[in-house]
Subunit: 234 residues, 2 copies
Amino acid sequence: MVRMAHNGSNGPNKLKIMDKPQLSESQEDYLKHIFKLREVNETVTTQDLSESLKVRPASVTGMIKKLSSMELIYHRPYKGVVLTELGEKIALEVLRHHRLLELYLVDHLNYTWDEIHDEAERLEHVISEKFEAAISKLMGNPTRDPHGDPIPSVDLEIPEMPDLVSVDRLHAGQEAVIQRVLTQDKDILNMLSRLELTIDANILMVGSDKTGIRLKVGNNQYLIPYSIAKLIWV
Amino acid sequence: MVRMAHNGSNGPNKLKIMDKPQLSESQEDYLKHIFKLREVNETVTTQDLSESLKVRPASVTGMIKKLSSMELIYHRPYKGVVLTELGEKIALEVLRHHRLLELYLVDHLNYTWDEIHDEAERLEHVISEKFEAAISKLMGNPTRDPHGDPIPSVDLEIPEMPDLVSVDRLHAGQEAVIQRVLTQDKDILNMLSRLELTIDANILMVGSDKTGIRLKVGNNQYLIPYSIAKLIWV
DNA sequence: CTTTAAATTTAGTTGAGACTAAAAATAAAT
DNA sequence: ATTTATTTTTAGTCTCAACTAAATTTAAAG
C-alpha cells in the first residue's frame, strides 16, 4: 500500500509550501517531535527523539540521515538536530492539523478532553487541505486548541501568546483565568475536568504549603500538588 | 511506524467483533474490494483484485495467502476467494466507515459529490469506533450514503434496499426518483450534479433511440448516453 | 488429444522503517 | 592525560507489502 498525495485541488497559484516532498507518517512525526522538543529543550538530541517517539536510538539515527538528505533538518553528528525552514513548515502543518482536529472533535463531535489526543494523532496525517480548510472555517479560524495551545495559521505562523505563568506562582488572594494546560495525560486531564479546572475557568489562589497549593474554583476548594499545578498556566 | 489499535474505550461487554485481529490498511482494502466485487461478480479472482486494487497479480496471490492463513477468506487456488464470516464483518465495518464518512463530508463539511470518495478512502482506516458512533449519531443513524449506497448498521447488517432499475429501462412518459448512482468517477459525478441528476431528483423519461435516452429534469431536457444511463438507478 | 493462450502461483528482490549488537565518539572524573 | 560512563553511530537483521521474471495450472481450439 503506497501513500498517495492529497493536497486537494490546489490551483496553480496556491504556493503555500513549494516543492513539498511527500512524507511518510513516520517522517511527519519526527519533524513534529523535533519541533515540540525544540520549544522546550534548546537542543534536540538523538536520545530526546528516541524517548519521545518511543523508538530505539539507532532507528532515530537512521531517520535523521534520511531527513538530513531531504534537507528537512540539519544534523551535527553527536550534537543534535535543527529543523530547516522547510522542515519547520511541515512540522507546523502537522501541528495545525492536530490542533484543529482536537478542537473540532470537542466542538462538533462531543469528545472529552482526554479522548481527543489519540484520535487527532492518527487523523493529522491523512486529512487533506480541503478538510483542514473546512473545519477551520467552520470554527471561525480559531487560534487556540482545547488545551490552550496555539494553532498555527493557514500560512503557518504561530499566533502571539500572552505571557503566562503556572498557577503555583500566584500569590494568595490573586484571581486568574486558566489559559493553558500542558499535558496530554488522560488521567490528569480527566481529573482536572472533574474539578472544572478547564480552559477559561476562573480560579482564586488561596494559599500554598509544602504539600501543594490551595485553589478555589466556584464554591469548591482543592489542594493541588505542585507537580500538577506546574501544568496549569494562567 | 507501527499501527496501533484504536477500538475506543470498549467496555468489557462490548463484543461486536470478537477477537478482531488488527489489520493493516492494505488488508482492510483487500477485504473491502473482495466484498464489493462479490456483489457484482459471483466469483472473485486474483485478476479482479489485481485490477480493482491496481496491484500486480503476484502481489494479490501473496496477500491472499496471508488473509487465508488469518481465516479471513477461503481460497481455492486458480478458482477464487470468498470472505469468511469474520472477513465479511471486517469488510462491512470498513464499508460502514467509508459511507458514513462520505455522508458526513457532504452534510457537515460542504464537500461536493466528487470530492468525498478519496477523502473517505483515507479516513476510513484510521477513525475510531468513537468517531464512527459520533458522526452516525449526529446524522441520525443514516442508512444511505450520498451515492444512494446502503450504509451497514452498527451491528453490520446491510439495510434493505428496494428493488431498483437503471433509468434506461424506463418507458416513455414514465416518471421516477433517482435512488442510486453507481460510479465514483469524478467527471461523471460532476456532470450529473450540474444537470441536477442527483439523489432524490424527479425525472421524466421522454424517449430513447440508439444514441441514448432523453430525460426531462425540472424544465430541462437532456440526452444521456446509455453508458451513463446504466449508472443511474430509480 | 495436443497445442496454445490466459490466468495464477512460485521464487526471489526491493524499500521503508523498525530492531539488536557492537564500534566509535564525546564528556566527565580522576 | 587516561580512564570510564554515556551517547551516538555503524552494520546487519527482520517484517511488510509491493515488485519482476519464470514456472505452473487451467481452459479453449483445433
